[in-house]
Symmetry: C2
């Protein structure tokens, strides 16, 4: 099983994705927020690239909610920003959410040629690795990055998922072939794992979000395997996959 890590969106060669499982990562904060919203009862998320698209979709479906950010800030007129804490409220359960963020939703839309697209963050890294291993196809870990620059936290999450993939294929007749970039991320992940929160608070996006008053978001998003849920992109929307029994069992080991 080939595991490739792409450092940011524009590095991806889209034609190569056809027969693969693509895992989209945007730890701070789009994919952490998606995982959180789905874990708290949101029915489906509709990722769109532009604010205009979001507004058009809202016009067609007035009962749907809108969320997202530009420059880390909530978009005027939208129900939510991009902080996972805004998506914890169960009163919104059952409503679809239209979401647009600067990098994360762009990565999701760009990955549409993949066989299967899963959504990962540190929060659900293990669940996502377990599902991807079960799909038994080559895996591309697509780090969203920030404005076409590699983001530390996305690379570290790729490292976490590779570590979890080793666990997921243990005892099976599967050999993982990690590319050089993935190998670097795995080792970096292993090195910083015990001090994840502290390290994330000190990377570029961690510092930027802290400055903007979102320190707690960084702390929240730095938690590993808090949520046992795998969002999957099907057509134009993201929903939660039912958790595999094997995965539930592994929690007790």
């Amino acid at each position: 099983m080939d595991i490739q890590v792409i450092p940011y969106i524009n590095e991806a060669c889209w034609d190569d994705l056809a027969h693969k499982t693509v895992i989209v990562i945007d730890v701070l904060r789009a994919t952490s927020t998606i995982v959180t919203a789905l874990a708290h009862g949101c029915e489906a998320i509709y990722p769109v690239e532009t604010v205009l698209e979001a507004k058009q979709l809202k016009q067609e479906h007035p009962s749907w909610l809108t969320g997202g950010e530009r420059s880390c800030k909530k978009i005027p007129g939208f129900n939510f920003g991009n902080s996972p804490f805004e998506y914890l409220d169960d009163q919104f359960a059952g409503y679809p959410i239209i979401l647009t963020t600067t990098n994360g939703t762009r990565a999701i839309r760009k990955a549409h040629r993949a066989c299967t697209i899963l959504i990962a963050s540190l929060l659900n890294g293990r669940a996502c690795a377990s599902e991807a291993a079960a799909l038994n196809k080559d895996i591309v870990l697509l780090c969203s990055g920030t404005q076409d620059v590699f983001s530390f936290e996305d690379g570290i999450c790729a490292g976490q998922i590779i570590e979890e993939l080793y666990g997921a294929v243990q005892g099976k007749d599967v050999e993982l072939h990690i590319d050089d970039f993935g190998l670097s991320m795995l080792y970096a992940f292993r090195h910083i794992q015990p001090g994840m929160t502290e390290t994330l608070l000190h990377c570029s996006n961690g510092k930027r979000l802290t400055k903007l008053g979102f320190r707690e978001d960084v702390t929240y998003c730095s938690q590993m395997n808090l949520i046992q849920l795998v969002p999957i992109v099907v057509g134009d929307r993201i929903t939660a996959l039912p958790v595999r029994q094997s995965q539930l069992a592994s929690q007790y080991h």
Copy 2:
């Protein structure tokens, strides 16, 4: 002091290099070979991009020697390949060498807009970091990579140099601002440092070279700070900078 790590040649934005110190890295094997040759009495190295250029230069200077590789193999009619072991022989001391390799010499030529271009490998990481710190300009660590793909060993060497830069600026009023990619490489370096040789033997280029019979080259190139010498690119040639006194002193601490 800004420290930026570029994962492979085509990622570099050449216009940005004007006022910076660029450190070119191609651990397996071009820059390890350059450092080794200069440490063993070679007077100067002329890096050229193509075999044709090398042959033309040789015609103009029949006494000069020729070295290099294509697909890791020695070029027919050349004096040397790209194995550092071929450059240990002091009988060639004093002769300039014309060198062409697939990635390393290309990176060197591409970096010509930089203020200063230094050549680094694991062999001389500390010496190179010490010189770059003394130059007191923003630093770009340019990993050559392999055919426009990131190479593990180059990233790890960037991590080593960042670690050594911290040592070099210790006690001075200099703050290092490492970019996210550099931070990942620093942590990956810290994690694998105790098992450097073993890890390099198992990365893509390590495995490829081993298959081609160059296992000892990988082992040799994985040695850290074996050579106290900093090659510098001046115009069309590479020569050795005299070692700084401060650096010699630090060997005894």
